[in-house]
């Protein structure tokens, strides 16, 4: 509704590239009339205010624009506008062979590139029917995915604290995340966009001494999480600030197909790693943390944050088991020479990334280039909840609600 009004051009570029500004007084009058008519249509009184939140706002975690209708300080409606980072990954994927798409998947959720690689690669392997992989490859994949989950959650909880006004925890989270990135750099050569997990294998074997260093990191990291909790999680002001806002009931979460910590924060015990185990996740023992509503209603912003904190602990558990059990072996032997799934075959595979389920729907046309790659991104689905959970709350809480959903715009816009 509003969008249609704001779409009306008051200036444009003509074909020569010159700026043409429409300044006739009548059009200005029309514009105001149109705005008034539209606001009345939508049931907003003259007291309502429409503000644009973003796209260049530090607390929108990227280039997200929210069109917020306010009544005083209360939020009446939030309309997200996406696409500022849109680059049509799916079209690109229709032009390059299967294995060359992996670096593009890095750029979806750039804070959890390993999980994106893993999700895509598992989808292609499902399409190829490639189920028997060397043990070592499976272990390396799980280790990388869990390390990246920790790194991504550290970023999420750090910036969540920042949204609530706590600056120190952010820097602490970053310090530990940096250490994980160092491990990844040693492993794959890159700090953020790894292109490490390939179809049928991984790009490099673990370097000598990596496992020991990783264990060392875990020993260092666990006390750090305790400190972090003392600093932020148990802080009463922080709890009071977050535990009563952004309430998301479980049935709404399911209806919106929310996944990941957003769903679990509402008390639904659902995790693909346990419920539809892929790779070798069925070999490890770990809990699925859910929101418990310790300080307020279940499904609050604090619950989503709390689920992330607990998930970090569970990831550490998985990592300890995996690092102890990792066998020797050749990591390259199962990498296929040619990836040519039969024509017309299609597969949908979903896996658990830090921000929710990442699903890839792939159709093949018999050549080495896919016919269609659809990325069902978790952030894209989760951010559509923002209107639902922040309606009727203060505009200051909107920032916290966005932070608690934890979006990465690279994945939302694709």
């Amino acid at each position: 509704m509003f969008n249609n009004i704001f779409k009306k051009q008051r200036y444009y570029f003509d074909s020569e590239g010159l700026l043409v500004v429409d300044m006739s007084p009548s059009s200005a009058v029309h514009y105001q009339e149109a705005v008034q008519a539209a606001t009345q249509d939508a049931g907003f009184s003259g007291e309502d205010m429409v503000i644009n939140f973003g796209p260049q706002h530090p607390s929108t975690h990227g280039v997200l624009r929210l069109e917020v209708v306010l009544e005083g300080e209360l939020v009446k409606k939030v309309t997200p506008h996406l696409g500022y980072l849109h680059r049509n990954f799916e079209k690109h994927a229709e032009y390059i062979p299967y294995n060359e798409i992996v670096p593009y998947t890095d750029r979806l959720d750039y804070l959890a590139a390993m999980n994106m690689n893993l999700g895509y690669v598992l989808a292609v392997e499902k399409l190829l029917g490639l189920t028997e992989l060397p043990e070592r490859v499976e272990y390396i994949r799980v280790i990388c995915a869990e390390f990246n989950r920790i790194a991504s959650h550290l970023m999420a909880i750090g910036t969540f604290g920042l949204d609530a006004g706590a600056i120190t925890p952010f820097l602490w989270a970053f310090r530990d995340r940096e250490k994980i990135l160092d491990l990844f750099e040693w492993l794959s050569g890159a700090r953020m966009l790894y292109n490490y997990i390939w179809v049928g294998g991984v790009a490099r074997d673990l370097p000598d001494g990596w496992v020991e260093k990783a264990k060392e990191f875990l020993d260092y990291f666990e006390p750090m999480m305790v400190e972090f909790n003392n600093l932020l999680t148990h802080n009463h002001i922080f709890i009071e600030r977050t535990a009563h806002i952004g309430i998301l009931p479980a049935d709404v979460a399911i209806n919106y197909a929310a996944t990941g910590p957003v769903l679990r924060g509402s008390g639904v015990k659902w995790d693909l790693r346990r419920d539809q185990p892929y790779s070798i996740y069925d070999r490890f023992e770990f809990d699925i943390p859910v929101g418990e509503g310790m300080y307020g209603p279940v499904g609050s912003a604090f619950d989503r944050y709390w689920v992330r904190i607990r998930e970090i602990e569970e990831s550490v558990k998985i990592l300890r088991q995996a690092l102890d059990q990792i066998p020797e072996g050749d990591v390259f032997e199962a990498i296929p020479r040619k990836i040519r799934p039969p024509a017309g075959k299609e597969a949908y595979f979903r896996s658990e990334a830090p921000r929710g389920e990442i699903g890839f729907y792939i159709r093949s046309n018999g050549s080495d280039i896919p016919d269609r790659v659809k990325c069902r991104s978790s952030c894209f689905v989760n951010i559509s909840l923002i209107d639902e959970i922040s309606r009727g709350q203060l505009v200051a809480d909107l920032v916290i609600n966005i932070g608690s959903i934890d979006i990465v715009l690279g994945e939302v816009d694709r």
Binding site: I96, E100, I101, V102, P103, Y104, T168, R175, E178, E185, W186, S188, G189, A190, L193, N195, A203, R204, P207, E227, N230, L231, L232, H234, N235, H236, I237, E240
Partner: protein
């Protein structure tokens, strides 16, 4: 009223707990680095600026073909039968002049595919990462060892040779056609 005071008390206590952590960390060594003056040591196999050892390149186009963003531009000219271009250090015979080998480092996404597929390992990643330049054309790295005019001459030569070959082929074909026609006419 009681809740109010309990909240104040709880807030103060938890802040003090947090402050204790902060205070303790005041005496631990700092984790930051004064970047331009100090630098981390990068691990082996880090992925930064690309480099091509052009003497080893056999012009096989493998790297250009696998590059997902198409930022390697290669042109080759086939060596003449009597020319010997030697061998790469891995033993692969070089059969073509690589008259052009440009990498657009602005487009490169540092995915490491090109270095993986290269049969002679002549394209590799170095640990140089401070590569900002003032002009966009300086981000395109030219690795070919041929001077531009010599390269142009090679290309022209090849084109001429090809044209000559094509002409010869056409002439032969025409002759055959004529002979056939004559036969049919008979």
């Amino acid at each position: 009223m009681r809740t109010y005071f309990r909240n104040v008390y709880r807030s103060l206590i938890t802040i003090l707990i947090g402050m204790r952590q902060t205070w303790r960390h005041l005496f631990t060594p700092s984790v930051t680095l004064q970047y331009p003056h100090e630098k981390w040591d990068l691990p082996v196999g880090t992925r930064q600026q690309l480099f091509v050892n052009i003497d080893d390149c056999i012009g096989c186009y493998k790297c250009a073909r696998i590059c997902p963003v198409d930022c390697i531009y290669i042109d080759t000219v086939k060596a003449k039968p009597d020319e010997d271009l030697g061998k790469a250090s891995t033993g692969n015979p070089i059969r073509q002049h690589v008259v052009r080998f440009d990498i657009d480092m602005f487009k490169c996404c540092y995915c490491n595919f090109c270095t993986t597929v290269c049969p002679t390992d002549c394209i590799y990643m170095t640990d140089k990462y401070e590569t900002s330049v003032y002009d966009r054309s300086n981000g395109i790295y030219h690795f070919s060892k041929y001077a531009p005019d010599y390269a142009a001459k090679l290309i022209v030569d090849e084109k001429e040779a090809e044209a000559a070959k094509a002409a010869a082929r056409a002439a032969a074909k025409e002759k055959a056609m004529a002979a056939k026609k004559a036969k049919v006419a008979e």
